[in-house]
């Protein structure tokens, strides 16, 4: 079964290593997610080829370098390139992370969780207004994973994310492995987080895998931290969270499996898509069963 009757869709992140396999199995891949920055320096013919791809499978675009969640403004050159790509690729939707990626002259090269404060809420909302003005649309906003609880945080993650989502009117991209990792690293309940964020705003869900790292804690005792590395299979706990989101969300969901390396035989990735569909189906079934109760209440 490919399409779920609810309108939910399940797809993959587009990577050159698995592109041919994706194209061979479009009967089981409902949607494909492109990394915007992969195309910033691509030759024009590679960008033009996206229209051929879009004719075969719906496309969504994912940004990784804007640095939306910051007290500082986004990089205007980066925003211009992103806007050009989004308007050229014409995806169904696009998304970006609630992270900072640069500070003054320092380029982190990846996503860092910012301090969760009034200042970063205000800065992010200002950045989103600028992004909407330049790109013409708002991205779905993704929660990020972190090994370090951002110092200077006055908000817990669910409250901070909710404040930005409601303040900007943006959709959310809920990365369930990021959520799972942060819940493990900082000792909160992931299911509680799902209840507390405005789940009706979630349009896209990311699934991925990760690994455990050992560290010496401040007290000298060894402890484990969860790293979101996109190099391992999706853990069962993440499928359980997907079921929970499908139970709570009234709207159709687009679920993307992210894999960035150590690629297994493609059949294993297809099996992960099947597990995602099954989790969605379980959540939707629970939702249907609960409907009369909700209406009676």
């Amino acid at each position: 079964m490919r399409q779920l009757s609810t309108g939910d869709r399940v797809g993959l992140s587009w990577r050159s290593e698995i592109a041919a396999s994706i194209l061979q199995h479009l009967d089981r891949v409902d949607v494909v997610e492109l990394i915007a920055e992969d195309y910033f320096e691509a030759p024009a013919r590679r960008v033009r080829a996206l229209s051929t791809l879009a004719a075969q499978v719906p496309l969504v675009v994912h940004g990784i370098g804007l640095g939306l969640a910051s007290a500082s403004p986004v990089s205007e050159p980066h925003l211009d390139r992103l806007a050009r790509f989004v308007n050229r690729a014409r995806p169904e939707s696009w998304s970006e992370h609630l992270a900072f990626v640069r500070a003054g002259p320092i380029e982190l090269g990846h996503l860092a969780a910012p301090p969760r404060s009034e200042a970063t809420i205000a800065g992010t909302l200002a950045n989103l207004r600028r992004v909407r003005a330049v790109v013409g649309s708002l991205p779905a906003l993704e929660n990020v994973a972190s090994l370090l609880d951002p110092p200077g945080s006055d908000y817990d993650e669910a409250s901070w994310l909710s404040a930005i989502a409601t303040g900007s009117d943006a959709h959310l991209l809920l990365d369930l492995h990021n959520l799972y990792s942060n819940a493990q690293n900082f000792g909160f309940e992931a299911a509680d987080y799902v209840q507390r964020v405005p789940v009706e705003r979630v349009s896209v869900v990311h699934l991925a895998g990760g690994t455990w790292l050992e560290t010496d804690g401040s007290s000298g005792q060894s402890r484990r931290l969860r790293l979101d590395d996109h190099l391992h299979p999706v853990p069962n706990a993440v499928y359980a969270l997907l079921e929970e989101v499908a139970f709570r969300a009234p709207q159709a969901l687009t679920v993307i499996l992210e894999r960035d390396g150590k690629y297994p035989p493609f059949g294993e990735l297809l099996q992960e898509l099947t597990l995602a569909r099954e989790a969605l189906a379980r959540g939707r079934a629970r939702r249907r069963e609960a409907e009369p109760v909700r209406h009676a209440g």
Binding site: E41, R102, A103, G109, A112, P115, E118, P150
Partner: protein, 94 residues
């Protein structure tokens, strides 16, 4: 209008430096308060960074380094220089 843009930006810059600069990280871990003061952090920010988990900070920094290297390796080799620049680069290669 953003509220007090300088202070939160200063904290982000401080964190960014800890993530990418191993010397700055070592200096911070040897005397956290002094490093925070030198960066001009306010009292609340200073308290927050002084309490940072050193093990998690080191793992986070390693993860950033790995991801930067991975991103560089994946960067498409699409921007081939024109032939005359390739010749010049070859002639003046280090």
């Amino acid at each position: 209008m953003r509220a007090e843009p300088s202070d939160p930006a200063r904290l982000e810059a401080f964190l960014a430096r800890l993530y990418v600069d191993s010397d700055a990280r070592a200096e911070f871990l040897s005397d956290r308060g002094r490093a925070a003061d030198a960066a001009g952090l306010d009292e609340a920010q200073r308290s927050a960074v002084v309490a940072l988990d050193a093990g998690a900070l080191e793992l986070a920094a390693r993860s950033f380094t790995h991801k930067r290297q991975h991103a560089r390796a994946l960067r498409p080799q699409s921007k081939r220089l024109p032939w005359f620049r390739r010749v010049l680069a070859w002639l003046y290669r280090a």
